[in-house]
Point group: C2
Chain length 236, copies 2
């Protein structure tokens, strides 16, 4: 039976981390909310499920519904050989994913520092201040952490965990994609100081299934409704 992915149909957003894992795994899945009546089905599940997700994305696998991006990847990683099998390695992989989640939340808050219920236009001044701190302090700090993990990986610096691809390599790829879209100037500088991160990003983009996916209509283009938004006034 195909997985059902539920996420806002017009943006990559947090759903994209799940899509990349499903695509790399070659798994059968339906992106439900992008199909007919999909949004209604999504809302119905959020209201009526015994285990209701707080927010999209969530994944339905038969009777199991899983919300929270990191929890979905924990589930899929184990099923599709995209995570180490040993418990300590699995936990370390999840720890990296949770740190990526923190970075994604901070990236979102650069354009919504005052609140998700207000428009960007109503918080532009605050956004400018927050984005400056994010560019100058947070991006370099996070990238240095990923660079250090790659450098210290006893199995080589081609992957974050162990000798082969895991879901956090895919997630780091997506974060670099998103930050490079939103903050092209800042990211060009930051990636210069994180060559292993840049190389991993390039290697993931060249994987056959990922390359095919990125060219397909299944990949929604970045836009200014998503998490990563290109507002030139926030870059620098």
């Amino acid at each position: 039976m195909a997985y059902e992915l539920y996420y806002w149909p017009m943006i990559q957003g947090r759903g994209e981390f799940v899509r990349l894992v499903l695509e790399e795994a070659g798994a059968h899945y339906v992106d439900v909310a992008r199909g007919p009546d999909g949004m209604a089905a999504m809302m119905r599940l959020m209201e009526q499920a015994e285990h209701p997700p707080f927010a999209p994305p969530f994944l339905k696998d038969g009777d199991v519904i899983i919300g929270q991006t990191a929890a979905i990847l924990l589930y899929l990683g184990a099923r599709h050989h995209l995570a180490p099998r040993d418990p300590a390695g699995g936990l370390w992989t999840q720890q990296i994913q949770l740190t990526l989640s923190d970075l994604v939340a901070e990236a979102h808050d650069t354009h919504h520092p005052v609140g998700v219920n207000l428009y960007y236009e109503d918080q532009k001044g605050e956004a400018r201040r927050r984005a400056e701190d994010f560019r100058k302090s947070r991006i370099p700090k996070f990238l240095a952490w990923f660079e250090g993990i790659l450098a210290r990986n006893p199995a080589g610096d081609g992957h974050l965990v162990g000798p082969s691809l895991t879901y956090v390599d895919l997630s780091l790829f997506q974060v670099v994609e998103g930050l490079s879209y939103a903050f092209p100037k800042a990211m060009e500088r930051a990636l210069g100081d994180a060559p292993r991160v840049a190389a991993l990003h390039k290697a993931v983009a060249e994987r056959p299934r990922i390359r095919a996916y990125l060219k397909s209509s299944r990949r929604i283009p970045f836009n200014e409704d998503g998490i990563f938004r290109r507002y030139p006034e926030l870059d620098g």
Copy 2:
């Protein structure tokens, strides 16, 4: 061998979610950074560990180092019978914890909407706007979600998951504690609409080990350096 918990020594912060689990479990642990040379030991591990945590808290159990609060609780919950044994139940518990983590991050950002590297005094205006959105929209939305989970729990509304205490009950207790400290007026209203959440908070506080812990010097009082800060101008 005792667990070693590493966290900033002057605040409850995210470390408190780990402390509550260790206390309820009756586990032996050392709160390392509160002891002599503890801060230096914490910094050393963050710089030198093969699996370096991005930020405190982190837990050391023999050779294993685990960062990210939710990952630490995933680990401890399984070891101390504070999580369901079945995989689907374990994942559901973790999903709730990740949603609690999101709420904690939003609570933090009420006083630091522009950035963690600036003082509160330098972002008071932005904080006032963000706190208003948080009080009026976010707190009620999150509490309604927890209330709904309690109401729908087939094993009864005394716990979030299954028929007995899990780590997310402890975490929800702590979030209610913290929000009630930071936003006493807003929380009094919000808890009136979430009677099951209020009852769970009360029941956790009365558990013998938790009650003993809360009275002990191991419990650091809330203060204005932590995540939950009482700034009267942000409540209302």
